[in-house]
C-alpha cells in the first residue's frame, strides 16, 4: 500500500516499467512501422486514440479491487450510460446535459452495486454479475436493439484537438492517483481493503468507503463509454461487450491483485500501456491479428513467472518471526 516502501515491491513495480520500455525498444528496432525517430504517427496514434480507453477500463476495475471486490458490470455501465447520454443529447440538444446524465447513470449503477455489496452483504461477484445482466438488458430494452447515429457535433467537440482523450484519461488518472495515495480517504480505502473489520473498529465507515469505490468505478465506466461514443460518432447498446475481460487482463498484467489493498492506480496505467503497446507492436511485427489473444495469454503467464523470479532474487530479507 501507499507508503510501504520496501525494495521488493519497488523492484517488482519497476520491473513492469522496464518490460514496457523493453517492448517499446524491441518493437521499434525490429520494425519500421511501429516507431522511428521520423515516424511518430503510430505511437502517437496509440497513445492518443487507444491507450486512454484501455487505461480507464483498467482503472475502473482496479478501484473495486482495492477494497477486495470486483466489478463485472463495467460492460453494462459503458453501454448503458453512453447510450442514455446519446439519447439525452438527441432529445434535449444539449451536449452538457447528455454528459451529466451519462455520468449520473454510471454513478447510480455504482451506487447500487455498492449498496448491494456493502450494506446487504451480497458477494461482489454475484452483485456485479447480476447488475451486468440488468444493465446490458436495460440498454437493449431502451435502445430496442438499435443504434443511434449522427453525433458529429459531439465527436467534433472531442476531436477538435487530438489529445482530448489522452488528456481526459490523464486527468482522471491523476485525480484517482492523488485521491487514493495521498489523502486520508485513500488510506481509509486501503484500510478497508486490508481488513474491513479492523477498519470499522478504527472508526472508518467501511460501508461508505466501499460504496464510494464502486461509484468511482461507475463514474469511470460512464466516462469511458461516452468517450467511445465521441470516438465512433454513434451510440451502440452493445458497446461494452467483452470489455470486462479486457479490463481484468490489463490491470492484472499491471500487477494488481484481487486480494484487498494490494492494487494501485499505477497498475492500471502500466497494465493499460503494456496491453496497448503489445497489441499494436505484434501487428507490426507481423503477428496476425487473430493470434493476439493467444499472445496476451502467454504474456500473462510470462508475467507470473517473471514475478516469481524476482521474488526469488530478493531472498535477503530476514523474516524474523518472533514467537
Amino acid at each position: 500500500m501507499a507508503d510501504r516502501f520496501d525494495v521488493r515491491s519497488f523492484l517488482i513495480k519497476g520491473a513492469r516499467v522496464i518490460v514496457l520500455i523493453l517492448l517499446f525498444v524491441v518493437f521499434s528496432a525490429f520494425t519500421d512501422s511501429f516507431f522511428g525517430l521520423n515516424n511518430w504517427t503510430n505511437v502517437g496514434n496509440i497513445l492518443l486514440q487507444e491507450a486512454p480507453f484501455y487505461i480507464l477500463l483498467a482503472l475502473g476495475m482496479t478501484i473495486p479491487m482495492i477494497v477486495g471486490g470486483i466489478d463485472l458490470s463495467i460492460e453494462a455501465n459503458i453501454s448503458l450510460s453512453s447510450f442514455i447520454c446519446a439519447m439525452t443529447i438527441q432529445a434535449v440538444g444539449n451536449t452538457g446535459a447528455g454528459i451529466l446524465t451519462g455520468l449520473a447513470v454510471g454513478l447510480l449503477m455504482g451506487f447500487i452495486n455498492g449498496v448491494l455489496i456493502a450494506r446487504t452483504g451480497l458477494p461482489p461477484f454475484v452483485a456485479t454479475y447480476s447488475m451486468n445482466w440488468i444493465g446490458k438488458g436495460s440498454a437493449l430494452v431502451i435502445s430496442k436493439g438499435g443504434q443511434l447515429n449522427g453525433f458529429e457535433n459531439f465527436r467534433n467537440l472531442f476531436n477538435s484537438w487530438e489529445g482530448t482523450y489522452l488528456l481526459m484519461a490523464g486527468i482522471i488518472l491523476v485525480m484517482a492517483w492523488f485521491l487514493y495515495t495521498k489523502t486520508a480517504f485513500g488510506r481509509e480505502t486501503y484500510s478497508v481493503g486490508c481488513n474491513a473489520v479492523a477498519a470499522r473498529i478504527s472508526g472508518i465507515n467501511s460501508t461508505k468507503i466501499k460504496i464510494l469505490a464502486y461509484m468511482a468505478s461507475g463514474f469511470i465506466g460512464a466516462m469511458t463509454g461516452m468517450m467511445y461514443v465521441a470516438k465512433l460518432g454513434a451510440a451502440d447498446p452493445t458497446l461494452g461487450n467483452g470489455f470486462t475481460i479486457k479490463a481484468i487482463a490489463a490491470t492484472l498484467i499491471g500487477g494488481a491483485s484481487f486480494r484487498g489493498a494490494k492494487s494501485r492506480v499505477s497498475n492500471a496505467l502500466i497494465g493499460g500501456l503494456i496491453v496497448v503497446i503489445l497489441n499494436n507492436g505484434l501487428i507490426h511485427i507481423g503477428v496476425p491479428g487473430v493470434w493476439q489473444d493467444f499472445a496476451q495469454g502467454l504474456i500473462i503467464i510470462a508475467a507470473v513467472l517473471m514475478e516469481r523470479m524476482l521474488e526469488k532474487l530478493q531472498t535477503a530479507e530476514p523474516k524474523v518471526r518472533l514467537q
Binding site: 507508503d3 486520508a184 479492523a198 523474516k319 524474523v320 514467537q323
Partner: protein
C-alpha cells in the same frame, strides 16, 4: 510417574535466516509426567516443540524416542511415532463436523475398488473417543457451533486419536476460563495416568503449579534449567526466564475515583440484558466471566460496533443515543476499544507499524485530509519509543512482531486519539510475563492521568491483581460486583459471583458510598 525416559532431546538446534531460534537445547521427557515449558516470547519454546512435532526440520542435535533415534520428516511421520501437538491457534475446520475434523487426512475407507469413505465408522469412532475423554459433544456437530472451550477439547481428542506417546499442548488455556480449564486438566490427568508424556507450554503461573510435574525454562533459544515444580518458586522461575528479578507484576497506584466516565443503565443487546456498570476516572474496572457470558458483546455495544436494543449509555454524563451509534461516534466521544482478537480486529497485519499507529487518528492528524509522511513518521517513532515497541523500525509490517509488541502497537494507535475511556478486551492474552508487566504499567499510567479503563479478562490473577472493582457476568447479565475496600479480591470470591445466576438484580452503589469506601482505605 516412571523414572525411565520417554523422549530425550540432545543439543537440538534450529537456525532461521538471521537468528538462532533454538540453540543446542537438551532435556528429557518422562512418561506420565506433565512437563511444562516456559520462557518469554521469542525464547524458542514454540520452535522447539514444532521440531518435536515434525513441523520444523532439525538443523543440529538429535532426539531419542523410547530408546530409538527419532528424526521426524513430517507431521505425519511424527504422528506415526505417537507424537501429536495441539497448537495455540485452534486449527479446526469450522464448517466441518467434529468427526471430520478428528479424522481429517486419514478418513476410514471401505471397499477395495472404490475406496469410499466410511462415514458411519468415522462418526462412531469419533463419538467413542469423545465419550472416553468425557467430552459432552455430538460428533456430528459442526465445530463452528461449539464454544471455544469445547473446540479446544475436540482438538485434544483429535490429537490423541492415534496411538500416543507424547502430547504437546501449546498454551491450551489462553481462551478458556477457570471452570473450563479445570475440565481440561481433568483430561490431562487421565492422559497422565495412561502413561502419556505431556509437554505443556503456558504463561500462567497458577496453572503451572497446579498441573505441572517438572518445568524447563528457555531463554533466547538456550536451555536455562529444569526444576521439579514442587521444589521451585515463582520468583525462581521468573528469574530464570528473564534473567533478572521482576519488580512486582501488579504495581498500582490506587487513585481516588473521579467522575463517572462511562455508565450504562439497564443496557440490553443481542446477548446481554439489564447491564449496569460504571467506570470512574482513575480506576480499572475488571469484567470477569465465562467465555460466552456476553462481556465482549457489552463492550462492542458500548463502542458502537454492535447494536443496543434497550437501556441507556452515558459518557461523562452525556447520553449516547443507541440510534446512530458507531465506532466513529464512540471515538469522537472519547472511547477506545482494544479488541480481544488483535490480529483479526485490532491490527492491519499487512500494513507497517507506522501505518497502524496512525490508522485511527487519521482525520485528527491530517486535518486537511492530506497525508503527511513526515508527520506520520515523527508520530510513529514517538509512540514506538513511548511504549517501547521492540522493532527495527516503524516501516516493518506488524505481522512480524511478537504478541506483546503487537498489543503495544494496538494500544499506541488508541493513545493517539486522546480517549478518556479505554476498553481492553483480554489485554494480555498470549503475551509473556515481561511484556505483561509493561502493559500493566501502561494501564496504570493511563488511569493515574485521569482515564478510566474497562478491562475484560479471563485471567484470574490479572483481574484480582489490577482492578479497582470487578464486575462479573453470567449468561448475559451482571451477576455480581466486588469493590476494593469493601470486598476481598480472591479467585474464589470472583468465581463465586461469576457463576451466580439469575434473580438477584445488580444495583450500583450511590456515589457517596463509593467515596466512603475509598477513603476507608484498603486502596
Amino acid at each position: 510417574m516412571g523414572q525411565q525416559t520417554l523422549l530425550e532431546i540432545r543439543n537440538l538446534t534450529k537456525v532461521f535466516p538471521g537468528v538462532t531460534a533454538v540453540d543446542h537445547v537438551s532435556f528429557d521427557i518422562r512418561p506420565g509426567e506433565v512437563h511444562v515449558l516456559m520462557g518469554e516470547n521469542g525464547a524458542g519454546k514454540s520452535t522447539l516443540v514444532k521440531m518435536i512435532a515434525g513441523i520444523h526440520g532439525i538443523d543440529d542435535g538429535d532426539m531419542v524416542l523410547s530408546g530409538e533415534v527419532y528424526r521426524p520428516q513430517s507431521v505425519l511421520d511424527a504422528q506415526r511415532h505417537g507424537i501429536n501437538m495441539v497448537h495455540q491457534e485452534l486449527s479446526m475446520m469450522p464448517n466441518r463436523t467434529v468427526a471430520q475434523n478428528i479424522f481429517v487426512g486419514r478418513e476410514p475407507v471401505k471397499g477395495k475398488l472404490l475406496k469410499q469413505v466410511d462415514l458411519r465408522k468415522m462418526n462412531e469412532d469419533s463419538q467413542a473417543l469423545l465419550d472416553r475423554l468425557g467430552v459432552k459433544v455430538n460428533a456430528q456437530t459442526r465445530t463452528k457451533d461449539l464454544s471455544i472451550a469445547l473446540q479446544q477439547m475436540v482438538e485434544v481428542a483429535k490429537a490423541i486419536s492415534t496411538d500416543n506417546k507424547i502430547l504437546i499442548l501449546d498454551e491450551p488455556t489462553s481462551s478458556l476460563t477457570t471452570p473450563e480449564i479445570k475440565a481440561l486438566f481433568e483430561i490431562v490427568r487421565r492422559l497422565k495416568e495412561d502413561g502419556l508424556g505431556i509437554v505443556y507450554i503456558s504463561h500462567r503461573m497458577n496453572e503451572i503449579f497446579e498441573i505441572g510435574d517438572r518445568i524447563t525454562i528457555m531463554r533466547d533459544g538456550k536451555y536455562v534449567g529444569t526444576r521439579r515444580v514442587k521444589e521451585t518458586s515463582i520468583d525462581e522461575i521468573i528469574n530464570m526466564m528473564i534473567g533478572r528479578k521482576l519488580v512486582q507484576l501488579f504495581d498500582r497506584t490506587w487513585n481516588k475515583p473521579g467522575e463517572i466516565l462511562l455508565e450504562t443503565k439497564e443496557l440490553t443487546g443481542l446477548r446481554f440484558r439489564n447491564v449496569n456498570i460504571r467506570v470512574h476516572a482513575g480506576e480499572i474496572a475488571g469484567v470477569a466471566g465465562l467465555v460466552g457470558a456476553g462481556r465482549t458483546e457489552v463492550a462492542k455495544a458500548v463502542f458502537g460496533v454492535e447494536p443496543i436494543e434497550g437501556g441507556q449509555l452515558f459518557f461523562a454524563g452525556k447520553e449516547i443515543l443507541a440510534k446512530g451509534h458507531s465506532p466513529q461516534k464512540a471515538i469522537a466521544d472519547g472511547i477506545s476499544y482494544l479488541s480481544e482478537d488483535r490480529k483479526q480486529e485490532g491490527l492491519f497485519l499487512e500494513f507497517s507499524i507506522s501505518d497502524n499507529i496512525v490508522s485511527v487518528a487519521l482525520k485528527d492528524l491530517f486535518k486537511n485530509g492530506l497525508l503527511n509522511p513526515a508527520k506520520q513518521k515523527k508520530t510513529a517513532d514517538e509512540y514506538m519509543q513511548k511504549l517501547s515497541v521492540a522493532a527495527a523500525d516503524a516501516e516493518r509490517t506488524v505481522d512480524t512482531l511478537s504478541g506483546g509488541n503487537q498489543q503495544k502497537v494496538s494500544l499506541a494507535k488508541w493513545l493517539l486519539t486522546r480517549s478518556r475511556v479505554f476498553i481492553f478486551d483480554e489485554p494480555t492474552r498470549g503475551i509473556d510475563i515481561g511484556a505483561k508487566a509493561e502493559i500493566y504499567a501502561l494501564m496504570d499510567e493511563l488511569v493515574r492521568n485521569g482515564a478510566g479503563i474497562l478491562m475484560i479478562s479471563s485471567e484470574m490473577t490479572e483481574v484480582c491483581g489490577i482492578s479497582d472493582r470487578i464486575y462479573a457476568m453470567h449468561d448475559g447479565e451482571i451477576s455480581g460486583e466486588l469493590i476494593r475496600g469493601r470486598d476481598t479480591f480472591t479467585e474464589d470470591n470472583v468465581l463465586a459471583i461469576m457463576l451466580r445466576s439469575g434473580g438477584e438484580r445488580h444495583e450500583l452503589l450511590p456515589d457517596k458510598e463509593e467515596e466512603a469506601l475509598h477513603d476507608k482505605g484498603g486502596r
